[in-house]
Subunit: 256 residues, 2 copies
């Protein structure tokens, strides 16, 4: 069945590995009959910095408070056009793919600034004016899928379970769990390409093929089984004692 | 003894909690006789987005590759002035404090863009042209201290060891371990203020007092005991089998 996919990406060089992956994404999804929405952050000149210019019609002109202005601008339809456009794309999408190089173990600033600005109060948090009631599995983006496609400079070993950088999926937890699952999306396991700066033509082709196969399963794959806040597994926003008993840390929020 | 401290901060509103903390930092350190260097990213209009404009004198004008251009610009002293100025501040500092609101479990984009752009190849990574030889405890910033001072919107429970967001120190591992310890700095445990958007005047005063006391120990506190890459505890960039035996994840890189 034909779906709509939003592809957000962050690399200015058309011949970069990230952009080869973007081209493969476009081609594969279009061939499957899906509709593609794109946010090419560099070519859009996306404004990364979240500041007073985001709120031309302030509820409090005296003192600038982000959450207050964000909630007011969202509720009164006075957000900037670029932000509104991205929110509409998110709402129209059945799946969202973020494609980017891993910089200092996180998103490039331009992509972080897309999250910072588009994720308004009332939209991605404070949904329905009910504080934290809808989050982690519930929220405005519930029912959609999300997937990170990450180009990693270092070798896979360094990101392995005992690798010196830390396991990739844990380093990305603030994004997968904190930014994608938070407003309700089902998050697939991250698709990583390692040694990204220095791949042979053959390896690039093989990696692109693996990515195309992965994409073909976009709507069939099982997501990371993050525990839903409203599933009964949390008590006062802490994991109930009898679940993952005695354990702590990021991974207890995955139901293995 | 008098030291030099670099304070990098990211909030545009002078009356915000972040900026009250900045003022307290200034006052406390100055009273102690330290010299303060400051990077007020919003007022500087810091360019967050790392792009071709960072490299006016390209080694390869045909194809834009970040690592290549970064290494070339750094080695040939052709970086942009804003980046060079921040690198000089880092080199002059005995301690670096990053003060910011936690947005979507990470740094505001403007601060991430400070890392992305200032952390050049040859400087923060690829030190001495030797790939990954100097990192995690060794590197150009070795001997300096680093400290995150973070204003967190949510309650402390949500960031506790079994809290639904994940433990704060694990969410910040990509910054503490990945961005600060990586080029050699000794990282102190994060100083967090929770419920930051909604504190009474009394609580703010109490939190500022706690922060001042913390700052007085800046050069005396024991840092987080992250394991040094070149300490013999790693083999092929994985933690040696006999250390934290059978365990995986971010926290095995801390020597408890």
């Amino acid at each position: 069945m034909s779906k709509t996919v939003l592809l957000v990406y962050a690399h200015p060089e058309p011949t970069s590995l990230t952009r080869l992956f973007v081209a493969a994404t476009e081609q594969t999804l279009t061939q499957q009959g899906h509709t593609l929405l794109q946010s090419d952050l560099y070519s859009m000149g996306w404004k990364a910095v979240f500041d007073e210019q985001d709120f031309p019609h302030r509820v409090n002109p005296e003192r600038f408070a982000y959450v207050q202005e964000s909630g007011h601008a969202y509720a009164t339809d006075q957000q900037t056009e670029d932000v509104t456009a991205e929110q509409h794309k998110l709402l129209a999408a059945d799946a969202v793919i973020l494609q980017f190089p891993l910089w200092w173990f996180g998103m490039p600033a331009i992509l972080k600034g897309w999250i910072d600005r588009v994720y308004a109060y009332g939209f991605a948090y404070g949904y329905k004016g009910e504080g934290n009631r809808y989050r982690y599995g519930d929220g405005i983006l519930k029912g959609k899928r999300a997937l990170l496609s990450v180009m990693v400079g270092g070798p896979e070993t360094d990101y392995s379970p005992r690798g010196i950088n830390g396991p990739l999926e844990e380093l990305l937890f603030p994004i997968t769990h904190g930014a994608l699952f938070f407003p309700g999306m089902d998050v697939l396991r991250t698709h990583a390409v390692y040694g990204a700066g220095n791949l042979s033509k053959e390896t690039v082709d093989r990696e692109l093929t693996a990515w195309r196969h992965r994409l073909e399963q976009l709507f069939d794959e099982s997501p990371i089984p993050f525990r839903r806040q409203n599933s009964g597994q949390y008590q006062q926003n802490m994991l109930a004692e009898h679940i993952a008993e005695g354990k702590t840390g990021l991974t207890i929020h995955i139901d293995d």
